[in-house]
Symmetry: C2
Subunit: 184 residues, 2 copies
């Protein structure tokens, strides 16, 4: 059985810098109505940058929403109409200074589909060359690198709390395990 929710009414609440908010009234299969609060986001590219000696380059930055500094993989939101792979290259270079000669797409996912349309496109970046970082003017970023096995332990220890980064680390581990790229 395919369930869809037809939109009966849609109210724009807020148009912002990074997100917008609307509230839809929907018709359910039993003809009752309900409301759906939806945060609109332009989407993002997420990168797992892996050095030749098997380390992952991570960035640490303060996240106001959770009042904490989080260890994350490089990522950034898509410019309007931007190809996710282009965005992945740009964000990798801006946040870490690294340039990748081999950017592989893995898969895409929704960060919080219960209330947001944000989609994230995950890439693994290898064949890295170091350059100079150029973060956005309101981004203060620290760069740190870790072994993949260490990062997986840190997830279970609660030291990596950002969902896209947890997915990126697990996916890189699976991907490298399957492809034996990790064993040189």
């Amino acid at each position: 059985m395919i369930i869809r929710e037809n939109t009966i009414n849609s109210k724009r609440i807020y148009e912002g810098r990074m997100i917008s908010l609307r509230v839809d009234t929907v018709e359910l299969p039993d003809k009752k109505y309900s409301t759906r609060e939806i945060v609109e986001h332009p989407g993002a590219a997420v990168v797992v940058p892996m050095t030749d000696d098997g380390k992952i380059i991570m960035v640490k930055q303060f996240r106001k929403a959770v009042e904490d500094s989080l260890l994350e993989v490089p990522a950034g939101k898509l410019d309007k109409g931007e190809n996710p792979a282009i965005c992945a290259h740009r964000e990798l270079q801006e946040e870490t200074g690294y340039v990748s000669a081999n950017m592989q797409y893995l898969f895409s996912f929704y960060s919080s589909p219960g209330f947001s349309n944000e989609i994230m496109h995950l890439f693994i970046a290898t064949d890295l060359t170091q350059g100079e970082a150029h973060p956005d003017e309101d981004e203060y970023i620290e760069i740190v690198s870790y072994e993949l096995g260490q990062l997986i332990e840190m997830i279970f220890q609660g030291k990596i709390k950002d969902s896209k980064s947890i997915i990126a680390i697990f996916a890189a581990s699976q991907y490298l395990g399957h492809n034996h790229l990790g064993q040189q």
Copy 2:
């Protein structure tokens, strides 16, 4: 260097059924100002229900924000002040009908810390007994079960697109691998 962003002003934009929105003006380390759009969410419990024969119970439901039916692990938002383990038991039973005699906490993560404080607490539920599902009145849920290995393939095929479910599947695979619970 510890970076924090002091709140200079905080404006309430919307108070909703599931989420609220505020916009904070913050002071950056260079004394410039910026704004942070923050979606407030009460948090959620996420459950990987694993049957004695090694299958994961998944739920399929329509998500208005992304206009698609997604395959997800059972999850639900915390009632005010609710213990996440209690919520995990409740949501598992409401959505799937299953009751678990062994609910293990794994770790917690933020779904989208760039713009939301939503935190998710991940549990793995074993020793399951089947009962009757009682979804919320505006939830239409289909229950399906899969082998763990099949679910990991489905992530790389783009067939599982929900971030909390991707984390839950990868984490269960790592956890069972480490603990050899999967090998009976």
